[in-house]
């Protein structure tokens, strides 16, 4: 009999294959319904501007976030998106609160529940927002609220950093200092932070291995 994990991969792959079909069906249906197929050159020109960086980031993200989110969580998060700014912090926070370890079966369950809940709530918020767009647009575009929306990531990662860095400060020190110096020297990198997540992860892993071998963690 197949294990829970094996079954997760089976159903996860089915959902992923369906999701790929659904995603592709959107532009196909637009083209068919409006009889408006774009020229290949137009699509290639557009892709040339985004594909080199976003294809690279997209592929690297799987190898960086996959182990963190677990199997079920990954099959869901890589369909529903917004991984860095929502799904990964949600999973991380939920596993921390439930006191389960990432990579364990309990961690897999908690991570999946967190990502699924987060996806549902996001979908509901966006749907409600779209329904009440005429009412909400002026409110959400109010300059008074702009600083709040500009600072979602610092607000989110400040709290997470305290929990994780305080518990693992020996490992965290080197990648954190490296990243601060890097961004101070090359501020324009802030637009491609996605690429730097695996760089930070590699430095952390290297540091953890070194400290582990020396028996310091």
């Amino acid at each position: 009999m197949k294990s829970y994990d094996d079954r997760t991969h089976t159903v996860g792959r089915i959902w992923m294959a369906l999701a790929i079909s659904v995603v592709l069906a959107v532009p196909v249906s637009i083209c068919v319904y409006y009889n408006a197929w774009p020229s290949l050159t137009a699509v290639l020109k557009g892709l040339l501007g985004v594909a080199p960086i976003f294809w690279t980031v997209g592929i690297i993200e799987v190898f960086t976030y996959g182990p963190m989110l677990g199997s079920g969580g990954s099959y869901l998060a890589f369909v529903t998106g917004n991984i860095t700014n929502l799904k990964a912090p949600s999973a991380l926070n939920a596993m921390e609160n439930a006191r389960v370890r990432p990579g364990s079966e309990e961690g897999e369950i908690i991570s999946t529940i967190a990502i699924a809940t987060s996806s549902l709530v996001t979908t509901a918020v966006i749907a409600l927002g779209v329904l009440g767009l005429s009412f909400l647009t002026p409110l959400l575009n109010d300059p008074v609220l702009k600083p709040a929306f500009d600072n979602i990531l610092p607000a989110l990662f400040g709290g997470l950093a305290v929990v994780y860095i305080s518990k693992n400060w020996k490992i965290a020190l080197t990648p954190a200092v490296f990243m601060v110096v890097l961004f101070l020297c090359v501020p324009s990198l802030s637009s491609s932070v996605g690429i730097l997540v695996p760089v930070g992860a590699l430095i952390s892993i290297g540091m953890a291995r070194l400290l582990y071998k020396k028996g310091l963690v």
Binding site: Y4, V26, F78, V125, F149, I171, F183
Partner: protein, 240 residues
């Protein structure tokens, strides 16, 4: 046929995609919950996970809604709604739309009325973000088995390996907060917000451990995030 980026047809397409996302989320939620119960996990913990994640998600979800509103100005509502509900993120969708429009010599200052331009943007938005899905489809199982092997071989190192991945992500975002400080005092606002969020989390930790406010554990990250967002609203006019 007259093209309207807010047509009923496009809303129906968006609705179908949203239903798919809801179905997949509900499927995985119920499956994980049942498995948790089956292996003897505390139902209260599972329910608390749902509740705390739901509360925590609202503020970031509103910022995603802002992305929909931003893109809706020139793409109408349905396409941004779909793109930001399935795989997408505003950091990708906006450059994808802008690059394609520029390549076609179209301005994004007003709503798109040419269906060919619209479909080209839809294709670029779609194809530009799909490789990750294929990697998950074909490589995730092998990768997760590799992690499992690592944990079986050396449990402590396996845990450290996963913790290091989290720390790598947190470090990158910590560093990013410092990227604007050359622009003067306003560039320090993200750092102040981050520090305030950290301070609030520290206070929550103190209240949980020293005062026995166990209930706060579930909402500590939400409290630190929302509190620091209010802080951002207050300090920005004073500094900027």
């Amino acid at each position: 046929m007259q093209f309207d980026p807010n047509s009923l047809f496009l809303f129906c397409v968006a609705g179908a995609v949203i239903l798919f996302v809801i179905a997949q989320s509900v499927f995985f939620l119920v499956r994980a919950y049942r498995r948790g119960c089956a292996i003897g996990m505390d139902k209260a913990v599972l329910r608390r996970t749902v509740l705390s994640t739901a509360v925590f998600t609202v503020a970031p979800a509103v910022s995603i809604l802002l992305g929909v509103i931003t893109l809706a100005k020139f793409l109408g509502i349905p396409l941004p709604w779909v793109r930001l509900s399935i795989i997408g993120a505003i950091t990708y969708e906006l450059p994808a739309a802008t690059t394609t429009a520029q390549a076609l010599g179209v301005s994004l200052s007003e709503t798109i009325t040419d269906p060919r331009v619209y479909s080209a943007i839809a294709w670029v938005m779609t194809l530009g973000i799909m490789p990750g899905m294929f990697v998950v489809l074909f490589a995730l199982k092998k990768m997760q088995h590799g992690i499992l092997k690592l944990k079986t071989k050396d449990s402590k190192w396996g845990d450290l390996f996963l913790t290091s991945l989290f720390l790598g992500m947190i470090s990158a975002f910590l560093g990013m907060v410092f990227s604007d400080i050359r622009s003067g005092l306003p560039g320090f606002i993200p750092i102040f917000v981050l520090l305030f969020s950290a301070l609030l989390m520290g206070i929550c930790g103190f209240l949980i451990r020293r005062c026995g406010w166990k209930w706060l554990e579930t909402y500590a990250l939400t409290v630190s995030m929302l509190g620091s967002l209010v802080f951002a609203v207050i300090i920005t006019p004073l500094i900027g």
